[in-house]
């Protein structure tokens, strides 16, 4: 039963992170998740120290507010124009994280949040911490908080899909249509921040970042449509959650590292195999380049008038090898006829008519 709950928490966390991360990746601001995943730490510690009640939803909301504080600080520093945006993120999130680490080391939230969980969370213990309402055991608390985050993300995406899409791909158009992209963006980042806080306890900062970026980045290599990206990212995230959980269990180590690595492995596999990855695209590009060379040679020929190979090669300024390869390809494709004895080329009959 405990294993069922760990898996359930891992799966829901993976889904919530991957769905919210997809829009960050598409909007080309994936590293905002890295910033948020660190900046919420002081919020978690302070919110617990203030409420003292680990079941309080106020805790999650309060901590998520720190994420927004980071976003607003970064925007404020950028707006002054003294520091550019990537550097202002690089200044703000380590500072907030440092405050969080110092507060954690002071043990303000000792029983709720232990320093060991900052990086990789504590998925193994999460099922033991139950949510009890009206004297009834409703299952692990972590499961309910990540489920709330998942519902929030899905609700936001369903309600504001059009706005999110516009904002992601063309914020200026969105503004000119009267959509207030900055407000939608901020609201969306608040949802992302809430997701991160809810996932933090079980997943820790590294897994949150990995699950937000890697599945979406892998999905983008396979498909074009935003809906397809969301769906595929969800599938990849679930697969990494299951694989990582299994790996962690079999090696008896915390599953955060294995899950992050599985998500990374899926990305690397996509890089190799996907139509917009590295290997496949190269093959397509090579084929296109080869065809272009044949066309360039053919363009130097008039129908019915053979020309000497060497003079064509001279005009193109190609090496013997490059020219020979292009001619061989053209001859095998029956586009040109190569008269090896005379050393001439002419267009084949079919080509000339066409």
């Amino acid at each position: 039963m405990i294993e069922f709950w760990t898996l359930a928490i891992a799966a829901v966390t993976a889904l919530a992170c991957a769905l919210s991360g997809s829009f960050l990746v598409l909007k080309r601001e994936a590293l905002v998740s890295e910033g948020l995943a660190h900046a919420v730490l002081p919020g978690i510690v302070i919110a617990y120290a203030l409420t003292g009640d680990r079941t309080s939803p106020l805790l999650l909301v309060g901590a998520a507010a720190t994420g927004l504080v980071m976003i607003l600080l970064v925007q404020a520093i950028r707006r002054t124009g003294v520091v550019d945006s990537s550097a202002s993120l690089g200044v703000v999130f380590p500072a907030l994280f440092s405050v969080g680490v110092l507060l954690t080391s002071m043990d303000l939230a000792g029983e709720y949040f232990h320093a060991d969980c900052i990086i990789e969370g504590n998925l193994a213990l999460a099922p033991l911490d139950r949510l009890e309402l009206w004297g009834r055991d409703l299952g692990p608390r972590a499961f309910w908080s990540v489920s709330a985050a998942l519902l929030l993300v899905i609700g936001f995406v369903l309600l504001l899909f059009k706005e999110l899409k516009l904002l992601t791909f063309d914020a200026e158009l969105a503004a000119s249509l009267g959509f207030r992209p900055d407000r939608v963006h901020l609201a969306w980042l608040a949802v992302v921040s809430f997701t991160i806080v809810a996932s933090f306890e079980a997943a820790g900062s590294i897994l949150v970042v990995a699950l937000m970026i890697a599945p979406a980045a892998a999905a983008v290599l396979w498909v074009n449509d935003v809906r397809h990206v969301l769906g595929l990212a969800a599938v990849f995230a679930l697969a990494s959650a299951f694989a990582g959980h299994h790996l962690g269990l079999s090696m008896d180590i915390a599953p955060a590292g294995p899950m992050a690595t599985s998500a990374g492995a899926l990305f690397l596999a996509s890089l190799a195999l996907a139509p917009r990855g590295i290997l496949i695209k190269d093959r397509a590009r090579r084929r296109g380049l080869a065809q272009l060379e044949v066309d360039l040679v053919a363009a130097r020929l008039e129908p019915g008038q053979p020309r000497e190979c060497e003079s064509i090669r001279g005009e193109l300024g190609w090496s013997q090898r490059r020219f020979g390869a292009a001619v061989a390809r053209a001859a095998s494709g029956a586009a040109l006829v190569h008269d090896a004895v005379a050393g001439t080329l002419h267009l084949s009959a079919g080509q000339a008519e066409g």
Partner: protein, 310 residues
């Protein structure tokens, strides 16, 4: 003859010298990353270094049979994985539709996740490998763990990086501000790019022991961002960033030594952040206070003078 250092704990002297050197070197090297808008690249390098640190530890243990956490073994590992992550990220963002942010984030996840994976695996080995406990400290940094040999390693690597920086100063400067112009001068841009990358990796790797892989980004970006407010000259900016970094490093080591249980890394980062905050507020001309004052002076001008331009 009373030398103030003598009264200090010799360990503390080593640690403080180490953090000061780290702060100075990464402050100076960070200026280039900052001006090329590659600050966050340092974050990926430092996170990725964890895999190299743990990997080097494991390999050294497998080869020699004895465990060592000496920086002379761990730093080369960190250099290798840091560079690998950077090159992979760059190749992904050049050759696919993913942008820098996404490809850097993915590489961070893979390398840091892998490093954590390997670290946990090492810790689970039985019989336990002696000395594996200290590896964990690379995540948040443990300045107190610095030995005399480690200090030499930091000084050698940092000194090497700074020497390379000084030797190639003019070329790197042109390349940073105007890559197209530097190409038209016939400067080898690939080589300069590689050198820049190597300097960035070196600047990050020397600090991971003291500040930790997670917070190292701050020592690279924050002093540079602070120094930028005071000057527009690259040489002054680098010197100032080095001074700010050294100040934060030394202050952090001394402060955290004075209070038990105060982790060095976060204290160093918060000192650097305080310097940054002071700089954006107080700097002449660019500072927020100076600008507010200039705006007010503008408003107070008589309308004829203020509207003279139109």
């Amino acid at each position: 003859m009373s030398v103030p250092w003598v009264e200090l704990d010799p360990t503390l002297v080593v640690v403080a010298a180490g953090t000061t050197a780290v702060g100075a070197v990464s402050g100076a090297l960070g200026c280039f990353a900052y001006l090329r808008r590659q600050g966050l690249v340092g974050d990926v390098v430092s996170h990725s270094a964890l895999l190299g640190v743990v990997g080097a530890f494991v390999i050294a243990y497998a080869v020699t049979g004895s465990a060592s956490r000496s920086l002379t073994i761990l730093v080369p590992g960190a250099l290798i994985t840091g560079t690998a992550a950077l090159m992979l990220a760059r190749s992904v963002s050049i050759r696919t539709r993913l942008n820098d942010d996404a490809s850097l984030g993915v590489m961070l996840s893979i390398f840091f996740g892998g490093g954590l994976f390997l670290l946990r695996w090492v810790q689970r080995q039985s019989p336990p490998i002696a000395g594996h406990t200290g590896l964990e400290d690379y995540i948040f940094g443990m300045a107190a763990a610095m030995t005399r040999a480690d200090l030499w390693m930091v000084l050698a690597l940092g000194g090497g990086a700074l020497t390379a920086l000084l030797l190639m100063w003019k070329e790197l400067k042109v390349f940073t501000f105007d890559p197209d112009f530097s190409r038209s001068l016939g400067l080898p841009s690939r080589l300069l790019d590689a050198l820049m990358m190597a300097l960035l990796v070196a600047g990050v790797v020397i600090g991971i022991q003291t500040v930790g892989v997670i917070l190292m980004i701050a020592l690279l970006v924050t002093p540079a961002a602070a120094a930028r407010q005071w000057t527009s000259r690259l040489s002054t900016m680098s010197l100032l960033a080095a001074a700010f970094g050294a100040l934060a490093g030394a202050g952090g080591a001394l402060l955290s030594a004075s209070e038990a249980g105060l982790p060095t890394g976060p204290v160093v980062v918060l000192l650097a952040t305080a310097i940054f905050t002071g700089s954006i507020l107080l700097a002449p001309r660019r500072g927020l206070i100076a600008r507010a004052r200039a705006r007010r002076a503008m408003r107070d001008l008589p309308p004829s003078a203020a509207g003279g331009a139109s």
